[in-house]
Symmetry: C2
Subunit: 472 residues, 2 copies
């Protein structure tokens, strides 16, 4: 699989535009049929694609099976949402000819934005890649899609693309409604973002990668929206009353979340913030115990493993950072070692390196002098996908500023739960202030993600049958 | 009135952030009360502010009276929309503890984005300036507002700001909920956009100005959304059957729209596109007659007048452009002369200068060889606020591609009407693909404009009374 050339990308985008013009005119029921067919075909080839993905990502088969089911649920439930039509946001104001000047009949509705380019995620070879959430949202909206295969699982991507193309054939979709290109270098991504026919892009990955796409998109003669989901350390605020009551339970619950899937989730809780009260010692000892007995597992690929080793090493090497525990089970090739370190509030506040994501099973416990320092820490943090409060009603009553800060920081605020586990439902918000994403106004999980790929058009003075027959 | 210094702007934004934290916690009914009070106070000082604005903008008193009423209607109707709460986009998915893993209760709602900076419009001293649509939307959303006075009507802006501050006092709003700064140079605008506490901005004005703000906003370490409404020539497609039936009526209707308010509307129809059929001559002669007898009037200010003279001159000087008619009434100081010019489809297609806005009572008639060339022209145009189709049912039936192109180009598509006259209602879309605006996904007129200044937050596992008391 070689990188696409600039000429090939031009051809792909021309084809995508032609497909877009035909695809958006289909009845929504046809789109839904297509999305259901993709899900059906993915399930039919499940064993095969799970085997390929397993080799490319080191993810266990059970996890991949779950992820494939999630992917199919996204396709069918976003298809259902497309059919239900809430995303159209229909508005109507009737004519009032008695007014001065007379008011015309106006109807507004969302229309698909145009060809969408999707950059898949390393950590979700199915659910946030080729047939993943961005593709499903774009297809539901009526947009054609061009996916750039993720180099770390290009074989999986190719196989899934073949299945989508087969589903498109079976449903007699317009040619090129879905297309798939390869590109290891930056040039392919850049050419896709900069092509005049590209109207929006979805991305899940690193801060550097997402920001680069965002910058290219905004420097175009005609800028386009890039929805990039990038970086989040998902702070957990542990409040004193809660900590006093359940130090061991909190430790067990959070250690499980930190180590889930070798910590390779964008909602992994990489930062724990607590006041230094006596029960914090109990919390630490139980947490350390959980970490020590954590079974290491192979990370997604060598690049991600090496990145984990380097960033974890950098964090632990900072002055004032103490290693509290690592897994005591000898790691094999490319296995990430679960780790918890601690630092004082003062040191954390003055060292921005410690505010950065360490992608993997690592968390940093910030031990604050008091709740005032907890608030200081909250105010120094960058935008996040999630914040979590471990708090009793008493805590919430006593420290309302912490809740307020938690809301300001993130797109999802969890009370007495863990941030890992992102439910696919309409009420989900998977997004948040920069650098969590490039646009805090949209979600990439749940059917509201469709709203990223539509724009409103007002029809003034038209009969329903005059514009609705365009089916646009 | 001197320009604000960088230190003053920092202080203003700090104050705005403090105000934001208090303002967003007020019951929505308090916000609504404030917005109604601004409207009431504006009406109470109507004569005084209309007099000041009349001197600064040369707009006639009757027009300013209408615009003030519109401004008040925006404030009260967006306030009503805030109270109605559709903008919150509440979503709820109930817990399902039987699921594996158990599904938590999640509720999602929009929350205000933070302090908003507003840059007012030259051509609407009331409705799109200090107390205008952007300010009304931001206040309705629960955001604090900082307005930069438009240098061309700084006295009006100051007076209106004083009235808003009075209304804030009367309603016991948090200090600094609304603030007003001056700045003639770029530095003030840049400092406002680049301040870390600024969370969004609204702008109405030139393409160069809007793009500059957009670029600054996107180059920030933490980018922010800028909603800039900039440039549009509002193409009118005149289809053959319609033209054959009503050439004179179309000419009268369009000439009135081109010359309305000395052409100083962002929805002014600056481009007419028609096939060269015999009845086009009748259309031209009636149009020319209307233009010849058009009464010139003083433009908003000398800068806008000189800009009109220059751009109109440049357009008419292009090879292949013919002056069809100008007003025959001798213009006085700073009066813009109504003008219609014609050009062939071929020449238009090959001269991008002719695709640019000439702000004022000017329109260019593109005479196409046939409907194929009309389509070629449509495909060469940039994004627009509006497109208009003058068409019979026969035309629509015969030339569906023109409707499709009209939808792709714009945020509002008018059938057999004129683009001037932007109704303030929920179904309005005042926006469109770049360069009409910097983000085609949002409107700046109508209560949906509130959506520019909010972002979604999902609350996972919270009791209603635990997060609703924050009133955020």
């Amino acid at each position: 699989m070689r990188d696409a050339t600039i000429n090939e990308i031009d051809q792909v985008m021309q084809q995508s535009q032609t497909a877009f013009r035909a695809y958006r005119k289909l009845a929504v029921s046809r789109r839904v049929e297509f999305m259901y067919k993709i899900a059906e075909q993915l399930q039919e080839s499940a064993d095969e694609i799970i085997a390929i993905a397993g080799k490319e990502t080191n993810l266990p088969a059970a996890r991949l099976r779950n992820e494939l089911n999630r992917t199919c649920f996204q396709l069918t439930s976003y298809g259902d949402a497309a059919a239900k039509g809430e995303w159209r946001q229909l508005r109507r104001d009737d004519a009032d000819l008695g007014k001065t000047p007379p008011r015309p009949l106006i109807r507004k509705m969302m229309v698909p934005i145009g060809p969408v380019v999707v950059f898949g995620a390393a950590n979700f070879p199915f659910a946030y890649s080729t047939a993943g959430g961005d593709t499903a949202c774009a297809l539901a909206a009526g947009c054609s899609v061009v996916v750039k295969a993720h180099p770390a699982h290009a074989g999986t991507s190719e196989k899934v693309a073949t299945i989508i193309e087969r589903a498109a054939m079976m449903c007699a979709m317009p040619a090129f409604t879905f297309q798939h290109v390869y590109g290891v270098g930056n040039e392919v991504g850049r050419a896709l973002i900069e092509h005049p026919l590209t109207k929006a892009a979805g991305f899940t990955g690193s801060l550097a990668g997402g920001r680069q796409l965002f910058d290219w998109a905004n420097q175009r003669p005609v800028p386009i929206p890039v929805f990039a989901e990038m970086s989040s350390i998902n702070p957990v605020f542990i409040l004193p009353d809660k900590l006093q009551r359940e130090p061991a339970l909190l430790a067990t619950q959070l250690a499980a979340s930190v180590t889930l899937g070798v910590g390779q989730f964008c909602t992994n809780p990489g930062l724990l913030i607590a006041p230094k009260i006596p029960e914090l010692e109990k919390f630490k000892s139980v947490f350390a115990e959980e970490i020590r007995k954590n079974q290491p597992a192979e990370m997604l690929h060598t690049g991600i493993f090496l990145n984990y080793v380097e960033r974890r090493g950098n964090a632990v090497a900072q002055e004032g950072v103490e290693l509290l525990a690592t897994s005591e089970i000898e790691p094999l090739h490319n296995q990430g070692l679960a780790t918890i370190a601690t630092v004082s509030g003062d040191v954390f506040l003055n060292n921005p390196l410690l505010h950065q994501e360490v992608f993997g099973p690592f968390t940093l416990l910030v031990q604050c002098d008091d709740m005032n320092q907890v608030m200081e820490v909250a105010q120094k943090l960058e935008g996040q996908l999630t914040t979590t409060l471990m708090a009793t009603p008493n805590d919430l009553e006593q420290f309302p500023d912490v809740t307020e800060a938690a809301i300001d920081l993130a797109g999802r605020v969890i009370l007495n739960g863990v941030p890992t586990g992102v439910e696919v439902c309409q009420s989900m918000m998977h997004g948040g202030p920069y650098p969590a994403t490039t646009d805090s106004r949209f979600t990439s999980v749940g059917s509201d993600g469709i709203m990223r790929f539509v724009r409103p058009v007002a029809f003034q003075n038209w009969d329903e049958n005059q514009f609705e027959k365009f089916g646009i």
